[in-house]
Symmetry: C2
Subunit: 114 residues, 2 copies
């Protein structure tokens, strides 16, 4: 099994970078970041996400819609309910980065410096 060693010199393709920025933008909102953190554990319906987050139903739907449009999450119907789940492998990787950083450096790793 080969692990690719990614050199720092790999340049991000302009198209890729553009799409990536769009995805990252979606994670730049605390609520949405927390939603994907929840969804990472498995699929959830809107009402359970809503309850978990303590958000209104429309706001919850809106966040999910935005993330769906950017390809972060996807959904399927299950009877009455819409089940949402993470649809992009990059999301898992990015969340792993965050957890890793929190575990290794603690909360202060992200403190403002200036």
């Amino acid at each position: 099994m080969m692990e690719a060693t990614i050199s720092e010199s790999v340049k991000l393709d302009p198209v890729f970078l553009q799409k990536a920025a769009g995805i990252i933008k979606m994670l730049g909102h605390p609520d949405r970041l927390r939603i994907v953190e929840l969804l990472q554990t498995g699929e959830h319906c809107v009402s359970s996400i809503q309850e978990y987050m303590g958000l209104s139903q429309p706001i919850t739907s809106q966040h999910l819609k935005q993330m769906r449009q950017r390809g972060l999450v996807s959904r399927h119907r299950e009877g009455n309910k819409m089940m949402y789940f993470v649809a992009n492998p990059l999301i898992f990787k990015l969340l792993t980065c965050l957890r890793d950083t929190q575990v290794n450096m603690g909360c202060d790793a992200l403190s403002l410096l200036d």
Copy 2:
């Protein structure tokens, strides 16, 4: 040497999550994402960043200021010039995620699905 295995079950601390969202938000703009990609290779002054990016001087300064306020980058004076550099380890990790994703999955990995 021990590599920490980060379980998916590590829950992100609310404070950490809040700060992380702030940092991630800064990367959610294509120009800023490209700027940190540049800075990752070493420090650069404003005018060289500006030239590389093809942005106006005020816009360049503004992006840098925002990122400085969030702790993504820092700077020091070198004579006439202000040298900017990446100040947060998380940035490197996130960029590595992106490069890794691009290399392993190509540009289409981030395509919209819905």
